[in-house]
C-alpha cells in the first residue's frame, strides 16, 4: 500500500463520496454499532478491519439494507439509502462470507436471475455472465446445479452474481473465506480491476495482509466505533511504529481504550 502525497490528499478531499454514514447505530443486547461516522470515497478500496464482534458485519449489513439501523443516516453516492433504498441498491453489490445461492439452479440460471432482479438488459447481462463464468473458471459447471459444487465454487458463483450487474459500490464481507489460493488471487485481481475502472470497494477481512496490500485506506473498528482510519503509513504514525506490520499496528490500536479514539 502506498502513502498518498499531500496533493493526493487534496484531490481526495474533492473526490465524490461513495458511502457516508453519520451517527449509525444498532443495538442488539448491547450496542453493536455505536454512532459510527464512516466516509469512503469513490474509486477507493477501503478495508474495514477489527476484532470479532467489533461491528464490521453489522455496519455493512445496515448499509446494504439487510439490517435496519436504530439511528443515523446512510448515503450511497449521495442517495439516502434509508429513504430511497431501491435507488441505492441499484448501484450496490453485496457478498457475504457464506455463499447464499440456490442449490437447485445452475450458475448460468443464477446469473440470469440476478440480472433479472437488477433489470439488466438480457443481451448485456448474458455477455457479462459468460465473461465472468469464463474468467472464474466456472465454464465446466455452468449448467450443473449448484448443489454439486464445492464451497469455493459456490463462492465464485456468488461473486459472479455480485459483479454481473456492474455495481458502482461493491461491499464484500470476508469474500476470501473458503477460497483456495488461486481463487483468492482471482477475487483480489477482480476487485483491483473494478477499482481501477472507477468502482468503490469496501471489504471486511480478518486477513490483515490482504488489507495491507490492497486497501487504499483502512478503517479499524472496535466496540462499534471507528477507532482509527487512514492509510497504512498514517496508522503506523499514530502508533509510533513506523516499520511495523499492519498486524502490530492493529493489535496496538485495538488494545487502546475506546475513549482515546
Amino acid at each position: 500500500m502506498h502513502s498518498p502525497t499531500p496533493a493526493a490528499i487534496m484531490r481526495q478531499a474533492k473526490r465524490p463520496i461513495a458511502l457516508a454514514t453519520r451517527g449509525l447505530t444498532k443495538c442488539f443486547d448491547r450496542p453493536a454499532v455505536d454512532a459510527l461516522d464512516l466516509t469512503v470515497y469513490c474509486g477507493e478500496f477501503y478495508a474495514l478491519v477489527g476484532p470479532n464482534g467489533a461491528g464490521k458485519t453489522t455496519t455493512l449489513r445496515m448499509v446494504v439494507g439487510l439490517l435496519r439501523p436504530d439511528a443515523g443516516t446512510i448515503a450511497i453516492e449521495g442517495i439516502d439509502a434509508l429513504a430511497d433504498p431501491i435507488a441505492a441498491k441499484q448501484i450496490t453489490a453485496w457478498l457475504s462470507d457464506e455463499p447464499m445461492i440456490y442449490d437447485k439452479l445452475t450458475p448460468f440460471e443464477y446469473l440470469e436471475f440476478v440480472a433479472g432482479l437488477w433489470r439488466i438488459d438480457s443481451g448485456v447481462a448474458e455477455a457479462r455472465a459468460r465473461e465472468l463464468i469464463g474468467w472464474l473458471g466456472l465454464e465446466p459447471h455452468a449448467h450443473e446445479r449448484c448443489e454439486g459444487l464445492s464451497r469455493g465454487m459456490k463462492q465464485k458463483v456468488a461473486l459472479a452474481g455480485a459483479l454481473v450487474h456492474d455495481p458502482r459500490l461493491i461491499i464484500f464481507d470476508e469474500p476470501l473465506t473458503g477460497l483456495d489460493a488461486g481463487s483468492a488471487r482471482q477475487v483480489k485481481n477482480a476487485l483491483r480491476e473494478r477499482v481501477a475502472a472507477g468502482a468503490t470497494v469496501i471489504m471486511t477481512t480478518h486477513i490483515l495482509e490482504v488489507a495491507e496490500r490492497m486497501a487504499d485506506r483502512i478503517g479499524i473498528i472496535a466496540h462499534g466505533r471507528l477507532i482509527a482510519e487512514g492509510t497504512l503509513d498514517e496508522l503506523h504514525r499514530r502508533t509510533g511504529k513506523i516499520a511495523a506490520s499492519l498486524e502490530d499496528t492493529f493489535l496496538t490500536l485495538v488494545a487502546e481504550p475506546v475513549a482515546t479514539a
Partner: protein
C-alpha cells in the same frame, strides 16, 4: 456411566439425542415453554381419551369375542395402522442415510460402524414403537379401564408393530439402495414411504366405494373376505389375538417381532456403513440441468421472481412426493365422484372438502418454501426491488402452483355439477391464500432443506392456525356446495376470524422482508 464406545454407551447417546430432538420439536427451541406444552399435552390427551371413549365404550362393556369376523376386522385395523408406521420408519431410515449431521464424526471415529448402525436402527425402532403406542394409548386405556387389564396387552402389540415396521423399512430401503442406487433412492424412498403411508387407506376406501358406494371399513366385514382368509387357528391371527388379550399370542408376537428386528440389525447394520458412504457422495453428485434455451431471457422483475420460485419448486423432490401423496389421497374421492356420478346421486358434494383440505395443506407447504425457505435472502433483499413486489411475486407463485395442480380436478368436477365445482374452486383459492397469509405473518428465515421439518421451526400458532383454517374453509366450501348457505356463512366467518386472530397476534411485515 457405561464405558465409551460400547453399545450401551452409544444407545444412551442416541436416546439423549432423541429426547432433545423431541423437546426441541415440542418447544420450538424455547425450553421455557415446557410448562405450557405439558398443559397442552394433558388437554389433548384428555380430548383423545374422550373421543376414544365414545368410539370403543360399547365394545369394552359388552366384551369382544375372538370370532372370525372380529379377528379379520382387528387384523385389518392393525394393517391399517402398520402402513403409516412403515412409512415413518422408511422416512427415518432414509434420513439416517442422507442427513450427514454427526455421521462424519462417528464414521471417522474408531467405533465399529456395525455397532453405530445397530444402535441407529434400534433408535428408529424405539421411536416408531413409541409413536405406535402413543397412537394406541387413548383406545387401550379406555378399554383397560372399562374392560379389564388384559387390554393393556395391546401396548405390547403396538411396540411389536413398531419393531416389525422398522425391520421391514430397513430391508426395503436397503433393497432400494442396492437395486436403484444411492442417488435415486433418495427420491424414490420418499415416494414409496408416502405411497405406503397412504396405500392401505386408499385401497380400503376404493374397495368400499366400488362395493358399497360409501367410505368405510366395510370391506373388512364382507362375507367374501371372511370366506377367503385362513382358518381361525392360523398363526395369521396371533397379532389380533394378542390385541384381544391372549397372553400366549402376545408372547409369540413379541418374540417374533424382536427376532425380526434382531435379524434386520444383524443382516443390515454391517452394510449400512457402505451405503451411508455411497449416499454421502450423492450430495457431491453433478446434476446436469437441461433447459430449452441456454441464453438469458428478458422478463419483467415479477416474472423473474415467479419463474425462480416455480423452477425451485419443480426441482424439489420432497415437495414432489408430498404433492403426489396429496393427489393419491384424492384418488378415492375421484373414484367416489365417478361412482356416484354414474349412479346419479348428489353425494359428490363430499369431494369438495377433501379437495379444499388438500389444497390447504399443499398451499401451506408451497407458501413455506416460497416465503420462509429462501436460500438467498441477502440477494433478494439487496436487489433493487421493493419488499412488497417480492412478496407479491412469492404469493403469485404459490397461488399459481395451486391453480395448476387443482384446475384439472375442478374442471372434472364441473362436468359432474357446476355448483360443487365453483365451491371447490373458490375454497381451494381461499384456503391456499389463507395458508399463504399465515406464512407471511409467521415468517421464519430457513433453508429450503429444512422443509421436511418445517413444523419444528414454525410457530405452534402458525401450525394450528393453518390446520384449523384449512378445516374451516373445507367445511365452508362443502356446505356451500350442498346449498346450506347460512351454515356455510357461519363457518366462513369462523375461518376469517382465525385469520384475523393470526393477523392481530403477528401482523405481516411486508415492508422489511428480511431487514430486521
Amino acid at each position: 456411566m457405561s464405558q465409551s464406545g460400547t453399545l450401551v454407551w452409544l444407545a444412551s447417546h442416541e436416546l439423549r439425542l432423541s429426547w432433545r430432538d423431541w423437546v426441541a420439536m415440542m418447544t420450538v427451541g424455547h425450553r421455557r415453554r415446557m410448562r405450557t406444552i405439558a398443559i397442552a399435552l394433558v388437554v389433548v390427551a384428555g380430548f383423545m381419551h374422550l373421543m376414544a371413549y365414545s368410539m370403543v365404550r360399547r365394545y369394552a362393556l359388552t366384551g369382544i369375542e375372538p370370532d372370525m369376523a372380529t379377528l379379520v376386522v382387528v387384523t385389518g385395523i392393525m394393517l391399517l395402522a402398520l402402513s403409516p408406521l412403515l412409512s415413518q420408519a422408511m422416512e427415518l431410515v432414509t434420513r439416517v442415510f442422507y442427513s450427514r449431521s454427526d455421521l462424519d464424526l462417528i464414521l471417522t471415529s474408531p467405533v465399529s460402524p456395525r455397532k453405530i448402525f445397530s444402535v441407529r436402527i434400534g433408535r428408529i425402532a424405539v421411536e416408531v414403537a413409541l409413536f405406535a403406542m402413543l397412537l394406541a394409548t387413548p383406545f387401550v386405556n379406555v378399554m383397560a379401564v372399562l374392560g379389564g387389564a388384559r387390554w393393556l396387552a395391546a401396548y405390547g402389540v403396538a411396540a411389536a408393530m413398531g419393531a416389525v415396521a422398522t425391520a421391514l423399512a430397513v430391508a426395503l430401503t436397503l433393497a432400494l439402495f442396492r437395486t436403484i442406487g444411492a442417488k435415486r433412492t433418495r427420491l424414490i424412498a420418499q415416494i414409496v414411504a408416502a405411497v405406503i403411508g397412504a396405500a392401505f387407506v386408499i385401497g380400503l376406501q376404493i374397495a368400499a366405494i366400488l362395493s358399497y358406494g360409501s367410505l368405510s371399513l366395510s370391506p373388512l366385514q364382507s362375507a367374501w373376505l371372511i370366506a377367503h382368509v385362513p382358518d381361525i387357528g392360523s398363526p395369521a391371527w396371533w397379532p389380533a389375538r394378542a390385541v384381544l388379550g391372549d397372553p400366549a399370542a402376545l408372547i409369540l408376537v413379541a418374540v417374533i417381532s424382536i427376532a425380526l428386528l434382531g435379524a434386520a440389525i444383524l443382516i443390515f447394520a454391517p452394510r449400512f456403513g457402505d451405503d451411508v458412504l455411497a449416499a454421502a457422495s450423492v450430495s457431491q453428485a453433478v446434476v446436469q440441468q437441461r433447459r430449452w434455451s441456454k441464453t438469458f431471457r428478458c422478463r419483467p422483475v415479477s416474472r423473474t421472481l415467479r419463474q425462480k420460485e416455480w423452477t425451485l419448486l419443480a426441482r424439489d423432490p420432497w415437495l414432489m412426493s408430498q404433492t403426489l401423496m396429496q393427489i393419491l389421497y384424492l384418488l378415492p374421492a375421484a373414484l367416489f365422484l365417478w361412482h356416484t356420478f354414474h349412479s346419479g346421486t348428489d353425494a359428490y358434494v363430499l369431494l369438495v372438502p377433501m379437495m379444499v383440505m388438500a389444497a390447504g395443506h399443499l398451499g401451506g407447504n408451497l407458501a413455506w418454501l416460497s416465503i420462509s425457505g429462501e436460500d438467498a435472502p441477502d440477494l433478494v433483499v439487496t436487489a433493487p426491488i421493493s419488499a412488497q413486489r417480492i412478496i407479491w411475486a412469492k404469493i403469485e407463485a404459490v397461488m399459481g402452483g395451486i391453480a395448476v395442480i387443482f384446475a384439472p380436478l375442478v374442471a372434472a368436477l364441473a362436468f359432474a355439477s357446476v355448483r360443487p365445482a365453483l365451491a371447490a374452486g373458490m375454497g381451494i383459492l381461499v384456503t391456499a391464500a389463507s395458508a399463504t397469509l399465515i406464512q407471511l405473518c409467521f415468517r421464519t428465515q430457513a433453508r429450503r432443506s429444512q422443509f421436511r421439518h418445517r413444523q419444528v421451526s414454525s410457530s405452534r400458532i402458525a401450525t394450528f392456525a393453518e390446520a384449523f383454517s384449512s378445516i374451516a374453509w373445507a367445511a365452508t366450501s362443502a356446505l356451500a356446495a350442498a346449498g346450506i348457505w347460512l351454515a356455510s356463512l357461519f363457518l366462513g366467518l369462523i375461518a376469517i376470524s382465525i385469520l384475523a386472530g393470526v393477523w392481530l397476534i403477528n401482523p405481516p411485515d411486508t415492508q422489511a422482508h428480511a431487514a430486521r
